[in-house]
Symmetry: C2
Subunit: 266 residues, 2 copies
């Protein structure tokens, strides 16, 4: 498959301008799956629930979903994009998978970071896997990376590719992504934004870029720069993630000792 990621610095609140940035970047793109960052069109650092309410949209009936579906139809591909979801009285930090035919699946961020807890509701979707064409894809968002449970469940449910839209400000994820890829033997695709935002009480947030794809064998297929704005396309065979053998004797899923794992859900 051909997977594309677009790393850039959206401008807070300028959804139309940010969409035009994406549209311009992906014009003529040939790929099977395009992954965009967390909260791609709104920007990240909300300062109130009211501000979030003004920028969030229903899924799939909002403007952003319609624009993404149109883009997917035009490019003939699937797109994963982070967005602020208005679910009526509740707002989720979500990611959608859209194809040429419209919405395929939604993921609502389970593990909220910092002040997100003040405006967003913790995701209730659980960790589900969807078909993006011939590829089985799961989604997690940004801080979910820290919780091995998330990527593990997606792997158990058959994800070959874990798409990870992010607005990372800490320096750890890009290193620890190796763990998520290798312990699950999946493709782990982190798509981070660049730039900075200075809004609200948290001070200046500097996003760390370095979007990357790690293979089931722990190979980093590419890692973009910290400040680089770029569309990157990479080709790999998602079926490589079907081989769960870490050694001739060891299946990373089959060797799990679920009868000993009860404390994980207590």
């Amino acid at each position: 498959m051909k997977l594309a990621v677009y790393q850039f610095a959206p401008r807070f609140g300028e959804k139309k301008e940010n969409l035009e940035r994406v549209r311009g970047a992906v014009s003529g793109l040939e790929c099977d799956l395009l992954v965009l960052p967390e909260l791609t069109l709104t920007g990240y650092q909300f300062t109130s629930r009211e501000e979030l309410a003004g920028l969030a949209e229903p899924v799939p009936d909002g403007w952003t979903c319609a624009a993404l579906s149109e883009m997917a139809a035009g490019l003939g591909c699937h797109i994963i994009c982070g967005l602020a979801e208005d679910a009526g009285e509740r707002y989720f930090n979500s990611a959608v998978l859209v194809g040429p035919g419209g919405l395929v699946g939604t993921y609502r961020k389970a593990h909220l970071f910092c002040e997100e807890k003040s405006w967003f509701t913790p995701g209730d979707s659980g960790f589900n896997v969807f078909d993006a064409g011939d590829v089985r894809v799961g989604m997690i968002i940004c801080f979910d990376w820290l919780f091995p449970e998330a990527a593990r469940i997606l792997t158990l449910r058959g994800a070959q590719v874990i798409a990870h839209p992010a607005n990372l400000v800490l320096p750890w994820c890009q290193k620890i992504a190796l763990a998520r890829a290798w312990e699950n033997r999946v493709f782990f695709v982190t798509v981070n934004r660049t730039g900075a935002e200075q809004r609200g009480t948290l001070g200046r947030l500097e996003f760390t870029g370095q979007s990357q794809v790690v293979t089931p064998d722990g190979e980093i297929l590419f890692r973009l720069g910290e400040d680089e704005e770029a569309l990157k396309v990479v080709e790999f065979d998602p079926a490589d993630a079907n081989d769960k053998m870490a050694t001739e004797y060891n299946d990373v899923l089959g060797d799990r000792r679920t009868e000993l794992y009860g404390p994980l859900v207590e």
Copy 2:
């Protein structure tokens, strides 16, 4: 606390000689906890169940446990050491925690690596935490590192230090240990052996050394060389592992969404 690790190359089957190596190395040592590798006194690569039966010992009534208890009493410390456990009809790749008063706790390796599956029984102890003096310690062994479930459960049960006796031959653990330490905010202590063994059908096994201690903040306090034989002592405050806040808003345990984690135990 003062934590010591001893990295060396035991000689297969030579339990007394290997014990003398350890004794000589730790003579006069001042520490609270000494961690030794997996299968410290027997060596690693058994070639038959009969060979294992000839080297394995009951716990706590075997020669190795007695020798370790005597060493712990002499040094006035606790010791964690990997050994081959004879449990009558079943053999476990185990680790024991002994103090000046004798056995404190046993861990039986849950996730067996390669040909270990031919001789050892998968561990049935689960993942338990023990008091080593004032420190709450959990044990995992070698290949367990790949399964985030193991270190996670020990953390949930209050481990401040995860001791990880190992005979590593793959190049991944020492990198991915950063994930285990940071995702759980614990001290993660890998004690690997050096040298090589060429026995049985797997060919030459080269152990990768690089014993290390990673802090809850992701700092590598030290990493020994690949071939270095060394006793290393390091000092840290295990209470640093009590702070589970990754940010002012984020508790790495409290933020877990157990209601979504059911698939982990299915």
